[in-house]
């Protein structure tokens, strides 16, 4: 393991930029093939098994803000992801009238340290959406190309779930799923009345061991804090660090890549980066450069990699880098269930996230919007944190007093104290996460007027939802109301209307952004070929979610992992054949 800066050392076989899902998988596969690898990461090293890095199993009183969110940790003070939507000294801009919020994690493992571990394969239809509804584009590959890699990812990393035999929700090699929690049983009841299926969730959490290197889940409900037993998937614990132990992998931390360097023929020769430690620029050389910095960061690096041979940025000869940026849609609703008030207490933590979910179940041909969404369920007696006891000025009325009358809102004293205890664990909710239609007109580009604190030009975003996403959010809310009401719950808040795009989350907020360096068969309409190799530069590859032609209503991580593995195999084979 080496953290030393080497600016004049021997060239590596491969430089990988970024250590998240895509970069991590590439580091493992390429190093196992015997290649020498440099992983260049903008953040610091991170290992949740080290007690100094551990936030898991901490109580709210171990934080002076009792776990409330901060600028650096928008998902709470104990969340593992370091970075957020607004990083000091690393700005981005939006073109007037458009909005995209960009979430970044600066650390080994990137955003895999805190993600929801929802690990869904794309189905056959998800690669060929244009064939179905005429919108967007097909992928140049199909499910059969990725299936063997999904299978290998399941076995290497582990995912629990149930075999269902649904065509577009392909089954895999599943570990046993956990039984549902009580509020999830109510959601299943509500959904059943509405003819909406609810099945065991598919999360990359080890309910049984898959090897001797990682432990099994001990049900603390805190996967977002990163697991000291390595019982959930994060790239640092499951891919990068193991690769460093076994292979020729050097990890460069706190190293912010500025550009891909090229020779006169336009071939990539390595990268240049700014060390955050001394703010000096360094260069690394390699035979192959692999970008896995995240869809937008990789696009930024490519656009900033201007040279005589690549005057518009590497891979950007047809102006496609940054185009077709798209995120999942999102909307959420909450309710309160009288049957869950004054509940008997038991440990209901479970795994980190839902034990059941609803895959997309309808046919868009019969609907007024193009693509589907899945539903995530939440609630239960989770650990109280900052925010517990809030809103009794509006919530207390949902409790009944000793005479069966609604308790008065607000108040104080022993009665209030008891009511806060009675209401604990009685709220529940659901989130829709859906597919959007990729648009040429939604894109990121370089803002020539702004640089970050390392002097690197920043991204400017241009993003607007279309009617398809807006109407999908409307449908989500109708579904949510039906399920919560059917379950016997009372809806909280009000149904958002057209003035707020039916509660549709701002682009970027679901943190599934993809598509900026999409793959395709023609350089005029894509950045990469079907092996994620740049049309313009045959020793440059992208392994994050940039290559996605379309982001299904599934979470992107499992597809990033499968695609990165496939791309890495291709790199090994091309190097052997001396094609690159």
């Amino acid at each position: 393991m080496s953290f030393e800066i080497k600016s004049t050392a021997e060239p590596y076989d491969v430089i990988i930029v970024g250590s998240g899902a895509g970069g991590g998988m590439a580091s493992k596969i390429l190093s196992e093939a015997g290649l020498s690898v440099a992983v260049v990461e903008a953040g610091a090293d991170f290992d949740p098994a080290k007690d100094e890095d551990r936030t898991q199993l901490r109580f709210p009183w171990e934080s002076p803000r009792r776990g409330n969110s901060t600028r650096i940790r928008p998902f709470g003070d104990f969340d593992a992801a370091i970075g957020g939507w607004d990083i000091e000294g690393e700005p981005y801009t939006n073109t007037k009238g458009t909005k995209f919020d960009w979430f970044r994690s600066r650390m080994v493992g990137g955003r895999t340290n805190h993600w929801g571990r929802i690990s869904l394969r794309f189905g056959p239809d998800d690669f060929k959406r244009k064939d179905i509804d005429g919108l967007g584009d097909n992928w140049p590959i199909g499910y059969d190309d990725l299936k063997p890699y999904y299978d290998k990812v399941d076995k290497l990393i582990g995912v629990f779930g149930s075999k269902e035999g649904w065509r577009n929700e392909p089954d895999g090699f599943f570990l046993p799923p956990p039984k549902p929690r009580l509020h999830e049983m109510y959601m299943m009841k509500g959904a059943k009345k509405a003819n909406i299926p609810v099945i065991p969730s598919r999360l990359s959490v080890l309910t049984r061991p898959i090897n001797n290197e990682r432990g099994v889940c001990f049900f603390c409900n805190q996967c977002n804090r990163a697991c000291q037993a390595y019982a959930d998937f994060s790239s640092g614990t499951c891919l990068v660090h193991p690769a460093m132990k076994k292979g020729k992998v050097d990890l460069y931390t706190n190293s912010m890549v500025r550009k891909v360097t090229t020779d006169d023929q336009g071939k990539a020769t390595g990268v240049s980066f700014i060390s955050k430690v001394d703010l000096k620029e360094y260069k690394l050389k390699s035979r192959v450069v692999v970008l896995g910095a995240s869809a937008c960061e990789s696009a930024r690096i490519m656009l900033n990699s201007k040279s005589k041979s690549h005057p518009n940025g590497i891979g950007n000869s047809t102006g496609m880098v940054g185009r077709y940026l798209h995120d999942s849609t999102g909307a959420d609703r909450m309710g309160i269930l009288p049957e869950l008030m004054e509940r008997e207490r038991y440990n209901e933590d479970g795994v980190g996230g839902m034990h059941v979910y609803t895959p997309w179940w309808l046919d868009n041909k019969k609907l007024d919007f193009a693509r589907g969404y899945h539903i995530e369920y939440w609630g239960g007696m989770g650990m109280p944190s900052y925010g517990v006891g809030f809103a009794m000025d509006t919530m207390r009325k949902h409790l009944k007093d000793e005479f069966g009358n609604p308790s008065p809102n607000g108040g104080y004293g022993e009665g209030l104290k008891k009511d806060i205890r009675r209401i604990q664990g009685s709220t529940l909710g659901m989130s829709g996460r859906g597919e959007s239609v990729p648009q040429y007109t939604n894109y990121c580009e370089i803002d020539p007027t702004v640089v970050d604190k390392y002097g690197i030009p920043v991204l400017r975003f241009n993003y607007q939802w279309t009617q398809d996403e807006i109407l999908q959010a409307k449908h989500m809310h109708e579904t949510f109301e039906e399920i919560i009401t059917n379950a016997g719950g009372t809806l909280l808040g009000s149904k958002p209307g057209p003035e707020s795009l039916y509660g549709l989350a701002t682009p970027g907020r679901i943190i599934h952004e993809v598509g900026t360096t999409r793959m395709g068969n023609t350089p005029e309409t894509s950045v990469l070929n079907s092996n994620c190799q740049a049309h313009d530069c045959n020793n440059l590859f992208v392994v994050d979610a940039g290559p996605f032609v379309s982001q299904a209503d599934k979470n992107p991580t499992w597809t990033i992992l499968a695609l990165s593995w496939r791309t890495s195999d291709y790199i090994v084979s091309e190097l052997k054949k001396k094609n690159i």
Binding site: E52, D53, T55, L57, R58, P60, E62, S63, P64, R65, R66, G67, N68, I72, D77, F78, I82, E88, S162, K163, F173, P176, P177, P178, K179, L182, K189, P200, T207, R208, P209, I210, V216, F218, F219, N221, Q222, R343, E344, Y346, N347, D349, G350, P384, V388, G389, A391, D393, P408, N409, G410, G411, Y412, G413, E414, L416, K417, I420, R421, Q424
Partner: protein, 237 residues
Amino acid sequence: MNRRENLKLLFTGALASGFLLTNCTPEEKQAALSPVNPGGTAGGRTDDEINIDQRLLSDVFLTEEEKKKLAVLADIIIPADAESPSATDVGVVDFIEFMMKDYPAYQIPMRGGLLWLDHYSRDHFDKAFLDLNETDKMKIIDEIAWPDKAKPEHIGGVMFFNMVRNLTATGYFTTEPGFKYLGYVGNRPNVWDGVPDHIMKAHGFELPEKYIDIYLKPDERGQLAEWDAEGNILRKA
């Protein structure tokens, strides 16, 4: 005051650290800010986070008088009872002091609300709030504690009291005694094997037949997973 004592106090939260630091020499201040023991959130902090927490823990927002008023309000909101301590017993005022600095949007409504309390008190009872007897204090609180019954002209007071209620409740129920009162029993290693049977029955639920055989069985948690070619996990008979 030496550094060790400083740190001990910071760590136990026995005193707002700003109060300590004002009594220290510049050298001692420097020592107390040493990141060796940050006194902020535990676990994997970046340098920026350590510095931010240090600054927030050292800065002072609430005056002693404001803290006294808040202490009265906090214990009206969450009093002690036979089974649990009061809000001030578990340090809620220190928590509120911290939140004023961590989330500065609280500052103006808090200071303004506490001033309004005295203003209203003087107008109606010719005394500052803290000097009122219990009955008169509660007369004012009752004007602002019940949002659905409050007079329209007291909307500002209601919003102020809502904020104090929120912060007091959250500050209380995120402590060890608060957890005990709520009965939260998680955040420890365990094995999830579903909702206890008697609770399932009480709610009229049964697990879906279809999944009974595939759910995780606790006694299999140690067995290395293997599958057949169709993706069926192999189970020992």
